[in-house]
């Protein structure tokens, strides 16, 4: 953790390092099995185990089955209420997106640092959130043009726009439309990064003040630690909310593509 002696770099946790030496190259890019890859696979495995608990398919469900079913119902309801019955065919994608982000966020929060392991938050990388955002955006574009053809461009002119205002509104709508993948990707990346940086900085306060003496430790370390407990709870909330926001915005954008407006 310590960059130099006595100095704790809060950004170190985001560094991607190969776990095994020797990657291979595809299209000029070196593919390594990195800590990021490890946590993505852990996310998949955890999610798979979670879902496995819901596969008993009993008429009277157990606790675990209820959890899995309520997640499935949650995403299904989100899509049917935002898109309508046509939204049901996007449930597999939005559910995968929501659960993947949710599990990645929460796994990155695990306090396994106390046993010497380094948790890594997959979703704190703009590369990952950007790819997911572009993926959602591409689905919106493909569905939109597939269903409505060039009529999809009427999305940029809302109903009831006065004729003289059409060019201005169209430009503004177009910009706001094109900004969607960036805002979608950045929101998750920034929320995850900021929370983890804040926790790491406060952790650095605890360690450095305690190293400076028991008095400093009591004066600075204890309040910092109290704050960390609160912020950790807040971060758990943020982890859930950001996954929800990502899925919700995706379903709203899909609604635009399905139904125009």
């Amino acid at each position: 953790m310590a960059g130099e002696e006595g100095k704790i770099d809060p950004m170190h946790q985001f560094e991607i390092q190969p776990i095994f030496d020797g990657g291979f190259e595809i299209a000029g890019q070196t593919i390594n099995f990195t800590n990021s890859a490890l946590w993505m696979i852990l996310t998949f495995i955890t999610l798979w185990i979670f879902m496995l608990g819901g596969m008993k398919r009993e008429i009277i469900p157990g606790r675990w089955q209820v959890m899995v079913e309520s997640m499935s119902n949650f995403v299904t309801n989100m899509l049917t209420s935002n898109v309508g019955e046509a939204g049901r065919k996007y449930v597999p994608y939005v559910f995968s997106l929501f659960m993947f982000i949710l599990f990645a966020n929460i796994l990155g929060m695990l306090p396994i640092g106390v046993i010497g392991l380094h948790p890594f938050t997959v979703t704190s990388h703009i590369a990952i959130t950007g790819i997911l955002a572009v993926l959602s955006f591409s689905i919106v574009l493909i569905v939109g043009f597939w269903k409505h053809g060039l009529h999809f461009f009427s999305l940029f002119v809302p109903h009831g726009t006065p004729l003289p205002m059409v060019p201005f509104i169209a430009v503004i709508e177009f910009i706001s439309f094109m900004i969607r993948p960036f805002s979608l990707g950045l929101r998750l990346f920034v929320a995850m990064t900021a929370g983890h940086v804040l926790l790491k900085v406060l952790g650095g306060f605890v360690i450095n003040s305690t190293n400076a003496g028991a008095g400093y430790g009591a004066l600075v370390g204890i309040p910092s630690f109290m704050l960390m407990v609160g912020i950790s709870a807040l971060e758990l909330l943020v982890a859930v909310i950001q996954a929800y926001v990502f899925a919700l915005l995706t379903s709203l954008y899909i609604n635009d593509a399905e139904n125009l407006h």
């Binding site: 950004m11 170190h12 985001f14 560094e15 991607i16 990657g23 595809i26 299209a27 000029g28 890019q29 070196t30 593919i31 390594n32 099995f33 990195t34 990021s36 890859a37 993505m40 696979i41 996310t43 998949f44 999610l47 798979w48 879902m51 496995l52 819901g54 596969m55 398919r57 009993e58 008429i59 469900p61 899995v68 079913e69 499935s72 119902n73 299904t76 449930v91 597999p92 994608y93 559910f95 995968s96 659960m99 993947f100 997959v122 704190s124 990388h125 703009i126 590369a127 990952i128 790819i131 997911l132 990346f189 990064t193």
Partner: protein, 164 residues
């Protein structure tokens, strides 16, 4: 910030692993596990809805049966009341007839008795006449030693009795 400084050097690697893991999530979880879970939920919801429908139909049937039962009960009660009323009317009629017959019988008995009494009274009166006539004959003969004929005596007694 490693997210930006490492972006170019690690983008391919991150993309590769994300494609694999998210692809697995989508195919194995989103496409194959999720529909099963949804179908379980749908089946349960359908069963609950069906059960509720069945319960509603049974409830309606029970209501109908109760209505029928009530209607039959009311009809039976009406019938019973009618029968009772009829029986009452008949009984009243019969008792009236009996009373009338009894009255008639009593009336004939009374007239007969009255006739008997009248006859007896007459007989008694005629007896009294004959006895009185005899007595009168005897009294007259004893007192005056004149002989009064029976016919004369009877005439006299009758005349005297008529004045009584």
């Amino acid at each position: 910030m490693p997210q930006i400084s490492q972006l170019v050097s690690t983008f391919g690697s991150q993309f590769f692993w994300l494609a694999i893991t998210f692809g697995l999530v989508y195919l194995l979880i989103g496409r194959s596990m999720l529909p099963k879970i949804q179908s379980t939920v749908d089946a349960r919801n359908k069963r609950i809805a069906d059960d509720l429908d069945a319960a509603r139909i049974a409830h309606k049937q029970a209501d109908e049966i109760e209505d029928q039962y009530k209607a039959r009960q009311a009809a039976d009660r009406d019938e019973a009341q009618k029968v009772t009323a009829e029986a009452k009317v008949q009984a009243t009629k019969a008792s009236e007839k009996k009373v009338r017959d009894a009255d008639k019988r009593i009336a004939t008995k009374i007239t007969k008795a009255e006739a008997d009494i009248a006859a007896q009274t007459e007989a008694a009166l005629s007896e009294i006449e004959s006895v009185t006539a005899e007595a009168t004959q005897n009294i007259v003969s004893k007192l005056t030693s004149a002989k009064v004929t029976k016919a004369k005596a009877v005439k006299a007694v009758k005349g005297a009795l008529a004045n009584v």
